[in-house]
Each structure stands twice: as C-alpha cells, then as structure tokens.
C-alpha cells in the first residue's frame, strides 16, 4: 500500500473540500472492504484518504414522509437488523444477507456497496477499468471470462459488483449526492454508468462528490424480493441475481420491475419481462416465462453461457419469492 494522508473531516462540506478534482488524488473511506484491498494491490494509490464515517449527515436509517432514508455509511449489518427495512423491503434484506460473511456485513456500508469498483480480474490485476492490454485489446473476450457479463455494453465486460443496486432500482430509489456546489438527487439507475475509457468509473459521481443518502419510496403494497445464485453458500460473489418489485391489483400484477445483477456492467433492467407480467396473475409458469424473456439479447462470452440459465432461474425464483412475501 502506498503511503497516504488520512483525513478526518468534521463536516460534509469539509469532506467534499478535501477530495480531489480528478480521480486518483483522493479516495473516500467508509467501511474500507473494497478500498483497502484496492490500495494493497496498487490499483488505487490515493495521496489522501478521507474518512466519512464520522459525518452525521451520512448516518442512520430514518422514516421519511414518502418512505425511508438510509445514510451512506450505514453498514450491511445495520440494514439486516433494521425493523424498518425488514418489514417493508425483503428484497433489500435478502440482497444484504447474500453477502454471507458477518465480517463484511459488519464493515461494509450501503454507500460503499453502490460505489465499489468492479471485480473483473483483469481490472484487479492492473489492466484498467475495462481490462485492456497496452494495444487497447479487451482481455475478457479473449481470456478467462466465466464470471463476466452476459450483457456486455461497449467495451465493458465486467459485471457491476453492487448487491443493492438491483433491489434499489426495482424499488424506484434515489441517491443523494453532495458536491462542491451543493447536493443533487438522481435515480439509482442513473448512478450506474458504463465507463467508456479504461480509466473511467462505474458510477456517475464526480471525483469530488460524496454519495450521502439512499432514499427509498414506501413499498407498502409492493411485493418485492431478491434471489441470488452463488457457487457457495458462504462468502462468495453472486453469479447472477434478480430483484423484483410487483405492484399488485388483487391477484394480478399491475406493474412489475425486474432488475438483474452481476450479469452486466450496470444492473440490467429486464423491460421485456416486466411488460410480460403486467395485467396477469403470476403463476410458476408465467414466472418461468418471464425468466426466459429476461435473457433475450444476452451475448454470453466463451466461458459464461451457463450464466444465461442461472439468470432465468434467478428471475423465476425472485418472482415466486415475491409472491410469498408480505405486501
């Protein structure tokens, strides 16, 4: 790890002012579960690390007039234990418990989950965000790619590593972002972007912006669930996940949101499958059909075609799980 200066800002404004105006100068430290390893591997070599855990604006889970607010430095463990979240947002609890290591849940934060770097092994070995060699050749398509995207976009073959992205998008959540000129709110799906350069980032934050809060609308009457397919039951990255949120009208689905995780460089919204469910009563057959439709357009690489079937299954099981959930 390269030596760095550790900053302990007292206020949000001070924290923002301590960040750099271009990537690489400073890094934000919350749980550290991603950053410390990135620094040990010299993938990130910041001159300054800004600890944001002490900032009051970023803490706590609170009810709001329209739903729920989760501070960015709330840990996965706090989310899993929160009665407010457990009662209304099973899709979030299931995603959080999918991180099957208590140590990671105790340390990792919701903001860090959304802003973490991708896990592509070419990126982690120093070949840049998109995993390209010196001549600009993308390595995932010609190399080992069993965990890569089946919905690649442009030159991005990595998968978004976020556990919370898919359920938050399905629930219609927003994130609040603080920067030098104040704060802004964007839908979670706009936080995730496909980087176009090998030095690009996976999120639409500026280098001197901090994700401060997650704002989730009430899910009363919305059946929601997340299903993850993993190799191991213990600590492991998911191979494919699906998060669903169903607005019901009696026993039929009025509208559905279906978002796939770990299959593309951003969470993938399965619009075709969503449309298929609208106005129908959800049966196991229909759920399976939605799974099939959800992978339309998938372009698996040489070693990850198996993820297509896993994704079908994840969608089907998430839908069936949602039907069991309290609405």
């Amino acid at each position: 790890m390269q030596a760095f200066e550790y900053a302990n800002p007292a206020t949000l404004q001070e924290a923002v002012a301590m960040l750099g105006s271009s990537w690489g100068e400073a890094d934000i430290l919350a749980g550290g579960t991603d950053l410390i390893s990135l620094m040990k591997d010299y993938i990130h070599t910041p001159k300054r690390v800004v600890n944001i855990k002490g900032l009051k604006e970023l803490q706590g889970i609170t009810k709001t007039a329209t739903g729920l607010r989760i501070g960015a430095v709330v840990t996965f463990d706090e989310v899993a234990e929160s009665p407010l979240i457990r009662s209304e947002y099973p899709s979030i609890v299931q995603a959080v418990l999918g991180v099957a290591s208590p140590q990671i849940r105790n340390m990792g934060t919701v903001g860090g989950d959304l802003c973490q770097r991708n896990r592509c092994w070419y990126f982690r070995q120093g070949f840049g965000t998109l995993g390209k060699d010196k001549d600009g050749t993308s390595l995932p398509p010609i190399g080992e790619n069993r965990y890569h995207a089946i919905f690649p976009k442009g030159d991005a073959y990595f998968v978004s590593a976020s556990s919370l992205g898919p359920p938050l998008i399905a629930l219609g959540a927003k994130v609040k972002i603080a920067g030098p000129s104040g704060s802004r709110e964007i839908p979670v799906e706009e936080l995730f972007v496909v980087p176009t350069s090998n030095k690009g980032r996976e999120v639409s934050l500026a280098p001197n912006e901090i994700l401060t809060e997650i704002l989730i609308p009430s899910a009363r009457g919305v059946r929601n669930a997340t299903y993850e397919v993993r190799h191991k039951q213990a600590l492991d990255w998911p191979l494919a996940t699906a998060s669903v949120a169903l607005r019901m009208k009696g026993s039929t689905v009025a509208s559905a949101k279906i978002v796939l995780g770990h299959v593309g460089p951003t969470p993938v919204i399965a619009t075709e499958a969503e449309a298929l469910l609208a106005g129908k009563a959800l049966t196991p057959d229909l759920a399976a059909e939605a799974g099939k439709v959800a992978v339309n357009g998938a372009k698996p690489l040489s070693g990850n075609e198996y993820k297509v079937q896993l994704t079908r299954v994840a969608v089907k099981r998430a839908l069936m799980e949602a039907m069991k959930a309290r609405a």
């Binding site: 030596a3 105006s21 099957a100 990671i104």
Partner: protein
C-alpha cells in the same frame, strides 16, 4: 508479502513523500486537492484533521487497555497488532478481507482486521484472541475447539475462535448446524476442519449458556 509488493512499498517510502511536501506541491499546481484551495484559516482548521502520511501517534484500546503506538495511516489494525504490539494471535493469511484468519472483535462486532486501518479504530473497544481468556482460564470457545479437534494446521484457528465468539455473543440461542454455518460464513479453513468447528461452536453455545462464561 510478495517481493513485488515489498519493492513497491520501499519505492513509495524512498520517494520521501510527506504531507508538507504534498500540500506544497498541490498548491503550486493550482489546487489539485481541496484543502489547498481553502482559505488560510480554513486550511489551518482542516490541518488538525489531517494525519500522516508519515507515522503518527495513535491510541488503541485493545483487550481493555489503552496502547499507544506510532504508525503510518496506511497500517492496518492487523499489522499494528502483529508488528507493533506483539499480538501475533491473529494471522495474516489472505490479507484481502476474505479468509477470516485475522478476525478481531471491534465494538462487539467481528471484523477482518487486515481490512481496517489502525488509525480508523481509535476510541473503539478492540478484542483479540489474546484477550478472551478469563482469569487465566481458556474461553469456552477455545475449550470446545480442543474438545472437538476443530483445528489442524492452526492458521485459521484464532480467526475461527474469534468469529465463533463474536457470533455466539450476538446469538446465544444457537442450536442448529445451519445457523453455525451462516454465522461463520466469513472464515475459511484449507485443512477442512469444518466438521469439528461446527460441533465446537454448538458445544460452546451450550457451555456459555450454562454460565461458564457469563
């Protein structure tokens, strides 16, 4: 640590990087980092909250006692304990927050000490494997590990014992193997002692409920 890493760390050290030099550098290049463009007053205030990159004095509360040490901000809790405080029970195995051999308990919760900066856990109650015996008696989890042959080469054992203790402290009513498996999902054993570990945790759960470690 690999030779590669050592060389790079040495290079970083040799570069003579210091906060003073760094701040000077950025103010000349018209404020690459925020503090350089703050007003002088603000910068003076901010300076009190900037530490390093060279070694700074910190205080860690470990096993109930305050320990003063001087470390660079980049030093992890694990390395601070092993290299500065002679607490070598927690093991540095993967050093990437995956295997669990470095598990410690911070404010009642299990963490990977290899992935926590020492400077970041000042003011918190840190418990290491060295601090769990009471009045010279091994902790019930340690006793149960011995009784159930829950170790082989031993590298993962201190981490497993701490993870098990942290798990049982928070979940005293554990009765099933499935609960134990989930509770210890953050620890790996390459020798494959899992069967013994699961049994040990269930035995320790009974012993701890029985008041042997109230």
């Amino acid at each position: 640590m690999s030779k590669h890493h050592d060389e790079r760390e040495e290079k970083a050290l040799r570069s003579g990087f210091s906060r003073r030099g760094f701040l000077k550098g950025v103010s000349v290049t018209s404020g690459a980092l925020g503090s350089a463009i703050l007003e002088e007053d603000a910068q003076a205030q901010t300076a009190g909250r900037l530490f390093g990159p060279s070694a700074v004095p910190i205080t860690l509360n470990i096993n109930g006692a305050d320990q003063k040490l001087t470390v660079e901000p980049r030093v992890t809790l694990l390395d601070a304990c092993r290299n500065h405080l002679d607490l070598t029970g927690a093991k540095r195995v993967c050093d990437r927050g995956t295997c669990g051999a470095c598990t410690m308990i911070v404010n009642g919760k299990v963490v990977y000490s290899c992935t926590v900066l020492a400077i970041d856990v000042q003011g918190k109650k840190i418990q290491t494997i060295e601090g769990i015996s009471q009045a010279g008696k091994p902790h019930p989890v340690s006793v149960a590990f011995v009784n159930n042959d829950a170790q082989q080469c031993g590298y993962c054992t201190p981490g497993f014992v701490m993870a098990a203790k942290g798990f049982l402290d928070r979940n005293p009513n554990v009765t099933t193997l499935e609960q134990v498996e989930k509770g210890l999902g953050g620890n790996l054993c390459r020798c494959g002692t899992y069967v013994g570990v699961r049994k040990a945790v269930l035995e320790a759960a009974k012993a701890m409920k029985g008041g042997r470690n109230a």
